[in-house]
């Protein structure tokens, strides 16, 4: 047996060859059906499996991105997620918003969810905390305060982001809150000396896929506006694979032994912004939240 997998994992592994013939959509439903069983196996084995699966999935896409001058898939561009993962990464029906005055414009649109298997595998205490977060959304969500959204949340905010790709480092700049991060492509042993909001990112190419390993998070960011959260033990592996000239597939593996019972995954497409002369505009939201954050500390007119 190739890597000494537990037997049920190994049999699923054999199925990968079949997967190569599926479309990415079919692949997705296959994965959601089998993942729960797979995860009964050792986490480590699953992690290796995940790495093995992706190139197969890349093959199913049957698309080879144009190359940069150094021969890597060219992911340069301005990208944006559609859908409603920024409201709630899990599947959800439409619901009224938290601010009455906003009426229909503040209501939450429904979404099928982007979490593989549908639900995030919280530990019991963390499931309770998530509920608490959701209840206190208006005061607890760091997005409301214009804090950097963290990763992967930054990717599927309702704002564009831009990839500037060079051989040694890749800059990802997000319109929301001016957030940016550098993905180190040439420093695999470079550990972050400090915790961060946007993570410490080291990347590599696996065939058609940019794989980004992100560590050194603080525990202050969330995954969405539904209170889904993590601890400072968060480890994110992102995979960016071109599906066509105008779309990427974004696959994320989330691991956080303090909060979840096992690693879990999200997957969604990202779309190229094709608008004429499209560019990131400023969204320096600090000035939009000063009243919210510091209003109570203003000098009262009566004083």
């Amino acid at each position: 047996m190739l890597f000494g997998f537990p037997s049920e994992t190994a049999s699923a592994f054999a199925g990968i060859r079949i997967l190569a013939a599926l479309t990415s959509k079919e692949f997705g439903s296959y994965m959601s059906g089998t993942m729960r069983n797979l995860f009964r196996g050792a986490f480590a084995a699953v992690a290796v499996l995940a790495v093995a699966v992706a190139p197969a999935a890349g093959q199913t896409a049957a698309y080879k991105a144009p190359r940069t001058a150094d021969g890597k898939p060219d992911l340069n561009g301005i990208w944006q997620a559609l859908g409603t993962a920024y409201w709630d990464v899990e599947g959800h029906a439409a619901r009224p918003g938290a601010v009455v005055a906003l009426g229909a414009t503040g209501a939450v649109p429904g979404g099928l969810g982007v979490v593989e298997g549908g639900e995030i595998p919280y530990q019991p205490w963390a499931a309770a905390k998530k509920k608490e977060n959701a209840k206190n959304w208006l005061t607890a969500d760091p997005e409301i305060k214009c804090f950097m959204p963290g990763v992967p949340r930054a990717t599927y905010m309702p704002f564009p982001f831009q990839i500037v790709q060079t051989p040694k480092s890749i800059l990802m700049t997000y319109e929301f809150a001016n957030a940016s991060r550098v993905i180190y492509m040439d420093r695999p042993d470079f550990e972050s000396p400090v915790d961060t909001w946007m993570g410490h990112a080291r990347g590599r190419w696996e065939g058609e896929t940019l794989v980004v390993d992100v560590t050194s998070f603080n525990d202050q960011t969330w995954f969405d506006r539904a209170g889904n959260f993590h601890s400072d033990a968060l480890h994110v592996v992102e995979r960016y694979t071109a599906l066509s000239p105008a779309a990427l597939r974004y696959d994320v593996t989330i691991e956080d032994a303090k909060v979840f019972t096992r690693p879990w995954k999200m997957s969604m497409p990202l779309y190229r912004r094709l608008d004429k002369n499209v560019q990131l505009l400023e969204f320096k939201c600090v000035e939009f939240v000063e009243e919210l954050m510091y209003g109570p500390l203003r000098k009262k007119p009566s004083q």
Partner: protein, 323 residues
């Protein structure tokens, strides 16, 4: 308006290049090119220096420091970098670990970063700009009535050196430059500001779209990256500038370890004439760190809380006094 860099500045550029080159005696140094053929300016660049933007009045008439004067100033700067307890009654500020304003004068030993006007001083403000400045200074700086009374750096909206234009300050004097076909990106550590500059010749944003850091467009002129920025907001306020600020920046790699950064600023509603500065940036290993200014802005919370506490104490004291 198509700005040409003044002759004086070009003279400095030609002075700067051999001077910086002397170390390695590489006068025939050829800048590297990206694989798609543009001059390669990439890397992390450090623009900390003790050379002031404007020539100090005691150096009037003196363009360049002697070797000995430069050494003295650098030694003094090093000696100043020692932590001392704050004065009694003073809460103190950042310690020296935080500050990073450099300990070196620029390689040309020029006495100012301003190169035009040649006397190294920023031209006089127009009467209109003087009025703007006075109105701002007249705001009660303390105690602050609300966040808007504090400057943009304290509010974490704009840093004081990320530009455009970039001018050295007390810390975070570094920028990482990235190039991909059609774009140059500048990531300043200060306030985490990234600027992505299209090189495809597209027009500036419409006049009604105004930004804190303006709107930048780039082009190549031989070995030099030229970045033209307009569409500023009034509040951006680079040394009293208005929304009419027009910044032209020029980036030229003059040797392996030096990126010469020059800028010309023009705003007829602010200065009586355009002015220019030249800042040699030095290659550094970095890295650029995440600068979560707003996320950790305890300063704003504490300043406003302190101001309200002082008012309360004063009101209570006044009440006591009237009894």
């Amino acid at each position: 308006m198509n700005h040409r860099f003044p002759a004086a500045v070009i003279a400095v550029l030609s002075l700067a290049a051999p001077a910086a080159g002397q170390v390695t005696t590489k006068r025939t140094w050829t800048p590297p090119r990206t694989s798609w053929g543009e001059p390669d300016l990439q890397g992390i660049w450090d623009f900390a220096t003790i050379t002031p933007l404007e020539r100090p009045s005691e150096l009037a008439g003196k363009d360049v420091l002697t070797e000995q004067e430069a050494t003295e100033r650098e030694e003094q700067a090093t000696q100043r970098r020692v932590d001392r307890p704050p004065k009694p009654g003073d809460t103190g500020s950042y310690n020296q670990f935080w500050f990073d304003a450099g300990t070196k004068v620029i390689a040309t030993k020029r006495t100012s970063l301003v190169v035009d006007p040649p006397e190294g001083r920023i031209p006089p403000l127009t009467p209109e700009a003087r009025k703007r400045g006075e109105a701002r200074v007249a705001l009660p700086p303390h105690p602050a009535t609300g966040p808007e009374d504090l400057n943009l750096a304290t509010r974490c909206i704009l840093g004081f050196n990320a530009g455009p234009p970039m001018a050295p300050g007390a810390y975070n004097n570094n920028v990482q430059l990235f190039q991909a076909p059609g774009y140059v990106a500048l990531l300043n550590e200060m306030v985490n500001d990234a600027r992505i500059i299209p090189l495809d010749g597209r027009p500036h944003l419409p006049q009604n779209i105004r930004q804190w850091r303006g709107d930048s467009r780039g082009r190549w002129e031989g070995p030099t990256l030229v970045v033209d920025t307009t569409n500023f907001r009034d509040e951006t306020n680079f040394r009293e500038s208005s929304r009419n600020l027009h910044v032209v920046e020029r980036f030229t790699r003059v040797d392996a370890d030096t990126l010469l950064y020059q800028f010309t600023v023009d705003d007829p509603t602010t200065w009586t004439r355009p002015w220019s500065a030249a800042v040699p940036m030095r290659k550094t290993e970095g890295p650029i760190f995440e600068y979560a200014c707003h996320e950790g802005n305890y300063g704003m919370f504490n300043i406003l809380t302190g101001a309200r506490a002082e008012e309360k104490a004063a009101a209570e004291a006044a009440q006591k006094g009237t009894r």
